[in-house]
Each structure stands twice: as C-alpha cells, then as structure tokens.
Symmetry: C2
C-alpha cells in the first residue's frame, strides 16, 4: 500500500510540476547574478521581484514541451525557457508603468514601479531584456554556437519591432479607435503571439544540432502553425477572461480593457463568438500537432488545451 505508484499516463500537472521546478530554480540562480556579485543598488531586488514567485510560466512550458517533441538539448531549452520568461517579465514591468497602462496590481502584488519607483522599474525591465540574451549565450559547450546564434535571432525578432514591441505600438495607437478584425489580429499576432510562437520555435530549435532527432521542415512548419494558433487563442481567452473573471481570480485588474475602451475580440465579435473562436483555434493547434508527425507531443497538446480552457 505504501509502494510508489508507477505513473504511466501523461498528466499536464505532473509534467508541469517537474518542468517548473527546474525553471524556477534556474531563474532564481540566473536573475540578477550570484549572491557574491549581485546586481547593484537595488536593481537586483527589482529584477527578482519582477520575475520570481509569480506567473504561469506558460512560455517556458511551451519551450520545454517543444524541445521534448524534438528530443532537443535540455540545457539549451532551459536557457531558452528562462530567456523568453525574462522578455515577458520585462514587458509586463514596462507595460504597467504610468506612461503605459498605469497598472498597480500584477499577479496579486503591487507592480514593480509601485514597489521600487518608476526609474528602477524602467532599469529593471531594460536589464531583464539584456539578461535574456546573456542566458542564451553561455561561454561553455553546453549549447553549440549555431544554436546560440539562432536562439538569439529568434528571440530578438519576436521581442522587437516586428514582434512584441511592434504590437504594443499598435495597441497604444488603438485606444478609443475602432479596429477592423484584421487590425486586431495583426496587433495580437505581434503583441502576444510573436513571443508565444517564438517559445515553441525556440524549443524546436534546441533540437537543431542533434541530427538524429532534428525536426523535418514539415514538422517545423507544423510547429510554427501550432504556435500561431496557440498564440492567438491565448489572447482571445485573455479578452474573454477580462470580461468574465474578477480581479482576484485574474491577479490583475479585470474589466480594464473595456474601461479603457480598448478594442478586444469580445468587443469585436461578442462573447459567445469569441468562445467559439478560441475552441476553433485550439482545434487548429491540435491538428497542426498531428500533422507534424512528431511522436512526443503530449505536453504541447495538453498545454494548448489548458491555455484555451483556463479560468485565469
């Protein structure tokens, strides 16, 4: 009766718990330097506050799941997982600042600028972005240089003007203006979709140097499609939850988009049609996984499902 159970079926909770333990440990080790050489003058505190002890870590999980699907380099994947999370975390820090969304609550805690002041928040965000690229380029042989360069390229493109920052600029310009469905899609494809998709593709890129298991071009394309569908679904669900959930459940201020007259999928399509759309995107994502021909896609499958059917 006390013998350990043998777990044979994949469960997302079990898998995630294992992956997240590694991610949290790595983040804790890498964010803002070792104990004997910490980031100076409170910067390290602000950086750690922005990153540690909070967040669903969806992007790291996508990286790790995609790496698993291609049986890639686990060290490269762990570094990539942390790097995408740092980019995500920095974007939240800057996005919350008074000149942007002016949000005071994030993950149920005061936002970084409320806690540390605007100047420190600005710097912490900047330093987190730099650290993301530092993590991707270790000065040892744990990640081959071709993969290092490729991961940096993918992350830089996903974070920059053709990705997240570009999407945020469209978002800024869109407040109080009606957007067409096409414009709304474009905004979200860049603002949140690019980094989510990059998470999947970076995980897949961690397999690039293991010739035997390298994903075929068709599998790469399928993972790209999966990433695009999942990235868009995430935002549709975010828009739905902004209307249907309360602040305590979300860990951030609910109803904010509507209050700021920001265009959302719900305001454009209506609530029910948005829910249908999210399910349709989930089906697309799962179909892409099937088309990839990759065997070990349990985690990618379960993550897509969780992401669309989440309550917060």
């Amino acid at each position: 009766m006390n013998a350990p159970e043998k777990i044979t079926l994949f469960t997302l909770n079990g898998w995630s718990a294992q992956q997240l333990a590694a991610v949290e440990q790595a983040l804790s080790r890498w964010v803002a330097g070792p104990a004997d050489a910490p980031a100076p003058a409170g910067l390290g505190d602000a950086m750690r506050y922005a990153v540690l002890d909070g967040g669903k870590r969806l992007r790291p999980l996508l990286v790790l799941a995609a790496c698993e699907a291609v049986a890639g380099n686990a060290q490269a994947a762990l570094r990539s997982a942390c790097a995408v999370e740092l980019i995500h975390a920095y974007s939240l820090v800057h996005d919350d600042m008074p000149c942007m969304d002016n949000d005071v609550l994030r993950r149920g805690k005061p936002t970084v600028h409320v806690k540390f002041g605007q100047a420190q928040a600005l710097l912490a965000g900047d330093a987190l972005q730099a650290l993301a690229f530092e993590l991707l380029t270790p000065d040892d042989d744990s990640v081959d240089v071709a993969t290092q360069a490729k991961l940096c390229r993918m992350l830089a493109q996903a974070a920059g003007f053709q990705g997240m920052a570009g999407g945020q600029a469209i978002d800024l310009a869109s407040v109080g203006r009606p957007l067409t469905s096409e414009q709304l899609h474009e905004m979200h494809r860049l603002k949140t979709g690019a980094l989510l998709q990059a998470s999947v593709m970076m995980g897949a890129a961690c397999g690039a140097s293991s010739q035997a298991k390298q994903a075929t071009p068709a599998a790469q394309r399928a993972l790209r499609d999966y990433g695009a569908a999942v990235g868009l679904a995430f935002q549709v669900v975010d828009d739905i939850l902004d209307v249907t959930a309360d602040s305590a459940t979300l860990g951030k201020t609910a109803g904010k988009d509507a209050a700021q007259d920001k265009p959302t999928f719900v305001s454009l399509l209506g609530l029910q049609a948005s829910k249908d759309y999210a399910q349709q995107l989930l089906a697309q994502a799962l179909a892409s996984l099937q088309a990839s021909g990759l065997k070990n896609t349990n985690a990618l499958h379960a993550l897509a499902d969780m992401l669309v059917n989440r309550a917060h």
Copy 2:
C-alpha cells in the same frame, strides 16, 4: 595641379568620414525595417529619430578601429558598430524620460519622449535593444555563428546588470549622496565604461575566426586595458565639459549634474585634477596599445586622443 593628392598619412577625420558613411548608411537601412515592412504605428519613426542624424558615433568608431587592428571581418564589425550604437541610443531615450533625468534636449533636438510621448519613447528604447541583438545574428554566412554568439554575449553583459543598467542603478541611488572615489569609479566603469570597453572588445572579437590575424591573448588583454582607460577617460571628460562648456556646444543641458547635486569627478577631485586625470588615462590607453603588439592601431590611437581632448 589638379592631380589628386596621394594621402599617405593617417588622419582621424579622413578615416572617420569613411567609417561613418558606412555606419550611417547601415543604421538607416537597419533601424526599424525596410520601407515595405516598417515598424508599425509610429514606432519606426520614434526609433529612427532616436538613432539617426545625431550623435558622435564614438562607440561604432571604436568597434571599427579595433576590428581594423586585428584585421577582422568587416561585416561583423559593421553589425557590431550599429548594435552598440543602438544600445547607446536606447539608453539615452530611457535616461531622458521624466522618471529618470527628465531631459528635454538631446543633441540640440527635443528628446524622444517630448517629441513622441513617453509611452512611445519607452517602446522605442525597448525595440532598439532587441534590434541590437537581431543585427548581431544575421541569418546568412556573413558572420560565422561562433562570432555571432560571442558578440551577443559581450553586448548583453555590457548592457545588463553587470554593465550599463547596473551603473545607472548606482547613479540613481547616488543623487545627493557623497560617493567615495572608489564608488564613483565603479559607477562609471559600469554606466559608460562597460559599453565603451565592449565596443573595443567586440571589434577585436570580429577577428576571432580569421586564424591568421587573430589577436594573441596578450593583445586581447591590452585592448581590454585600452578600452577600460578610454571608457573611464570619456566620463571624466564628460564631467569636465558639464562644467566648462555651454548647452549649445554640448547639444544637451550643461551644468545639469551640479544642479542635480550628482557626484562627478570634478566635484570629487576638482577641475584641474580631473583634467590631469584625463590626460593620465589617455597615456595609459596609448601605452596599452603599444603593449598590444598590434600594428594597425592608428585609428584606436587617434580616437583615444580625440575623446580626451574633445570640446563637446
């Protein structure tokens, strides 16, 4: 009488003019995307405004001069030159914002947040940092992947919490507080020194893959020392000019450090001792060049001299 003169002597003006033409053209091509796929919603305008048509381009010139000294890959050097300038430019954009230095004038023009608003300035800075890493990782064979990875690592470290961002955090915490000479040095070693030194070392790293011309470890160390001396001298001279030059000459608000009660080399050492110190650092930089054993150091020599003896 009309026959072209044969130029046999190195002149910094002649060399710089040629290098800067290439840098300006490259920045103009690379900042915020091609004409048919520009950065969206005004973001590209803010990015270009922050980078183009202004600045001494000291960091790019240091990259190119160091690459020349090791006969490195010119394409890698040009990308590195632009990347360090993008990091410098983004830091100025963020540094000028109201929550930091609240400066309204930069290079004789309204600062980015005055011209485009704070939110767009924040995003433009963020996007410029990402673009720096994108430039270092071209998806072709112009720069070998080992050099790409190394350049990303060097730039990330110089820009992050162990470099520029860390120095800015110390700066933030230092306003109105007396610093020791050691603390002031540490602040500037990080805040401005790290990126200037990285410019030199990145230029030198562009020679890493050309076996025949690769700088010896001794030469690498000498260039590192040169970069450290030049980086520190730059800040000492900046502090001197903040006291001795006027805003029109500087292209930014003069006397600002004293007005904000910021510790400077002049406030710590006095004006004459600061001038002596700058000359002493110049002598150190030139001695390091000599010790490097590298032949083609004309440009590095002239840049150090110009940097210390500049009037703005």
